[in-house]
Subunit: 132 residues, 2 copies
């Protein structure tokens, strides 16, 4: 049984997206943007190297919401995403979700969703709304 | 060379997410929520069957933005997502992006992003902000 949820509850996950994972995601999503796949394009870009798809990094929020907090049975209603900085191939990132509001009238919870890089810089921030 | 962009430009893509693609995405993203992977759980859920990860469906917007409109070189700054209805395994969806605003002072474009199912119902809606 799920423990009682409350504002301030936090869950997080670490992940390294390798080139292999990025290439697999490109195939599945059809997102073959050269920023992610082409070494020369990445080097010549403002980022200086290939970067991980923002939507792949953001999928860590979905993973956390459905498996850790609130956990199994959670239904995703909405997500906002601000892509603040690039995430590089093989860079460890930490995604975290924190409950910031629980509605009294409905089983709906709002969470702050943040992803940081190994320097502690925020790479993605936003909010999720879920039904529990 | 990219053609001149203007408000009203639209691009779209069709996609069917098979069970195999959903399982691959679950591995890559670590999102192994039973709504997506477990047949019995899906049948017993309010959806009546397994559903595709919302974030996987939303990745079609990223694919469109980076490859069709605005196209190559586009940098993703933000995305809002409202998950309105479930997308089922093997169901064809159509994702589309439409330019709704272009800033005069900076090369920043806002697009309406919508995904519909085979009945024409909106399954995801939101907005993207990109740098061109």
């Amino acid at each position: 049984m799920r423990k009682k949820l409350q504002v301030g509850n936090i869950a997080s996950i670490q992940k390294i997206f390798t080139m292999e994972l990025v290439e697999q995601f490109a195939e599945i999503s059809t997102d073959k943007n050269p920023f992610h796949l082409n070494e020369e394009f990445g080097k010549a870009s403002i980022f200086g190297q290939r970067i991980v798809h923002g939507m792949l990094v953001a999928s860590l929020f979905s993973a956390l919401l459905g498996q850790k907090l609130p956990g199994e049975g959670t239904i995703y209603l909405g997500q906002t995403l601000n892509f603040k900085k690039p995430v590089f191939i093989n860079e460890e990132v930490t995604a975290s979700v924190e409950i910031i509001h629980m509605r009294d009238d409905k089983p709906i919870v709002k969470l702050k969703t943040i992803c940081t890089n190994s320097k502690g810089e925020i790479v993605i921030e936003g909010e999720a709304v879920v039904r529990i």
